[in-house]
Subunit: 249 residues, 4 copies
């Protein structure tokens, strides 16, 4: 097992207030960050703050094709919403736990695992809902971008659906992602919220946890995958490909 760190070596000396080269943080956190930088303990710093605010659905949940309003509302409120609240609570707990020098590092890491898991759940759910609400028709340029990486658009779709089919009855995510390090566009299998390809920007995200479909389709995961594809918002996919630097301007 790990040797514990020498508590006397590590402190919580407040840093000088940030000046040039400061972090380009999200607007809401920027003020708090400055406050924290001045005179606050680590527990108030942005990394240890939480927010219980859910991001609204970007579409009318009553108007998707083949996915019921009841399913989408439950998914958004209970599963996404549950993770938003859990992530918020875990971040605050971490701020407290960081100051507890008697806490074993492996117990601290039990919370950090929850932090990783909930971060994945919140981020992936927001990206998932955000790439729904469209008409399911990829533009010619999107089809070309994807075909260039996978040989053909159909080869891509075949692999994406197949990964989803293999996750049916279990849990996980299917991801079309652009890896910033390798500059490659690939599909990825992810068994839970804590899994992800390193250094990769999500382009298209499909939730395969059973809460994504059991209420409408029972165990028939393939029918859900069909419905998912009918609702993909390809304009968002296009914008993500561009933002990730995967396509030339």
């Amino acid at each position: 097992m790990a040797d514990e760190l020498n508590p006397s070596r590590r402190g919580f000396v407040a840093s000088a207030a940030a000046g040039a080269g400061a972090l380009a943080l999200a607007a809401g956190s920027a003020t708090a960050a400055t406050e924290a930088g001045k005179d606050s303990p680590a527990s108030l710093a942005p990394a240890f703050q939480g927010s219980d605010t859910l991001k609204p659905l970007p579409f009318d949940p009553a108007k998707l094709t083949g996915l019921s309003e009841r399913l989408i509302r439950s998914h958004w409120e209970n599963n996404y919403g549950g993770s938003v609240k859990a992530l918020s609570a875990v971040r605050k707990r971490l701020g407290q736990a960081l100051g507890d020098k008697d806490l074993p590092a492996y117990v601290y890491n039990d919370l950090k695992r929850e932090h990783l898991l909930r971060t994945g759940s919140v981020v992936l759910h927001e990206l998932y809902f955000d790439n729904l609400g469209g008409g399911g028709q990829a533009s010619a340029s999107d089809r070309q971008s994807i075909a260039q990486a996978f040989g053909s658009f159909d080869a891509w779709e075949t692999e994406f659906r197949r990964i989803g089919a293999g996750l049916g009855g279990g849990s996980g995510w299917v991801l079309l992602g652009f890896n910033q390090h390798t500059r490659q566009l690939e599909n990825y299998w992810m068994a839970d919220h804590a899994h992800a390809p390193a250094a990769t920007m999500p382009i298209l995200v499909m939730d395969m946890y059973e809460h994504s479909y059991q209420m409408d389709y029972g165990a028939a995961a393939a029918k859900y995958i069909d419905a998912f594809f009918q609702n993909v918002n390809w304009e968002k996919v296009n914008a993500r490909l561009s933002a990730a630097g995967a396509t030339k301007a």
Copy 2:
């Protein structure tokens, strides 16, 4: 269990050659991509190609502080190198398997799990070696950027080291990452190569697999963490913060 996809619905029709809006792929893959787009099966497309070429160490392995040349060479050649070769082999296998319509989707996903795992191993190892070879001194602006997110530079370092200590005797990675979706700079615990925070660009990467230190330090993971910090190349960290959009120009 998953319903299998209807094989008659999915084919491998070659797409039209890519034109405007084409993928900005790495140079080496671009030609192959065009070829694949024209007339080749999916198995030759970039997503299913492999390369056995290792990225050279960006420093002289004989000159690190407290990390032996034997350790670094073995780590680079056997562990990183092993994953490069495995990833290459797995990508080719996936290209073949995609065309095998009788292969159960869950067996295809067994390979996709290996794909995720090896992608993480290759990318994280390259980023790890790339952030070693420096003098371990963070610049004032880097310290400020980090302090703004964590309350103080020491609070950040305390958490980063603690996650590492908790992984001692096991395996995994410690990551300082900038989440592109939440615009937050955070430390993450990762239990293996397949774990990662979604939509996050790695800023500082520390390998905690036992092959990173057992040869030099046996079970004394804390001594390795000390040595790691003495060799951090903060210029690379600075460049990654900037490239990820975490710091203002």
Copy 3:
């Protein structure tokens, strides 16, 4: 990465027919085992055979309290049944793959992971259905056995339910198990079918995959846990405690 085994060292020499001290295998497999022992390659040996036969439900699925026939039938046929068929297919694939000396060991292990996962799914589902169909009333002696380990029966039930609540919205199992090595009765959290406490006999098994309840209760996992407890067959629990050697005769 792993060094590959020297193929010339390992062969598939058929062993002599088994005599005294032979394995006390399940009846159905015994004949095949003898055959395999005589003159067959490894691929026909019991360890590499599969069976697609589902174990029937030990109760009338129309008569549970608070769990619908539709839910139970879908769970049994699609989720349990899917894993039975997948395990059978994977075992046969392993038999073939074992003879393929060019297959990388890590690809072989991708199949062994599926083997572990599906073994867990099949065994845990059979034990789960087998401990349902009862009236939910523990006998005085069962309550005493459990109270002796947990301080009180209520303390046990509180922890068992809490683990279940924490798995709501995700996936996994809750297990009351008797560890044969430590001789302790404990509750365990398991995140998927591949997790289990080492050397432990399951005593009471609760499925927390969403296919166990979404169809009836949506995201309301706590209502499912209530329903589960109303249907526990404590006679089975009692028999398992005794068979595991946890209670004195």
Copy 4:
């Protein structure tokens, strides 16, 4: 996310003192169990007690073939010993946490994950050391028992070694186990201490965490596997086969 349990429903009412049908607990715990059953809170019950006592090595660590005393002592003291202490601490924390009704169930489960992980580490390490110290020669009856399940003894050894090779450079365990539910003798891949086949008694256990070999062999996992086989204590394997009911008396 999970609904939390109704705190008013669950209490910690002490049960009546245990009588007939009481748990056949390990000797050391029996007294405490009785005490706890009488008048103590759950936190003192056996399920929430810890012990920091390491089980001594069953052999002279200076006398193994090809595994150094330094390696074995470090493995036993730091890795096994670390998990013994961690498990002890986690069990006590669980006892305290169980009474904290405001603790979210998912945070409780973070500790239960550590509980599962450490239980696996302690049990598997004890079984691992216990099946070392022998001469590596299986008896004719053991070879027959294994051959009956795998087709031949060599087929078994080939698969067992191959799983180990595939885990080289990573972490995990290889297990020959007898599944009490399916009555089958099989080899299993396990990626970490929390993995195990359900309802299975370990027969032969090989540690593939890098702390098992890096100190002696660096990345050459195959050399460690050779050394492991030379030190297997087959008398222990024989006794476990018999105790698990895998062989006829």
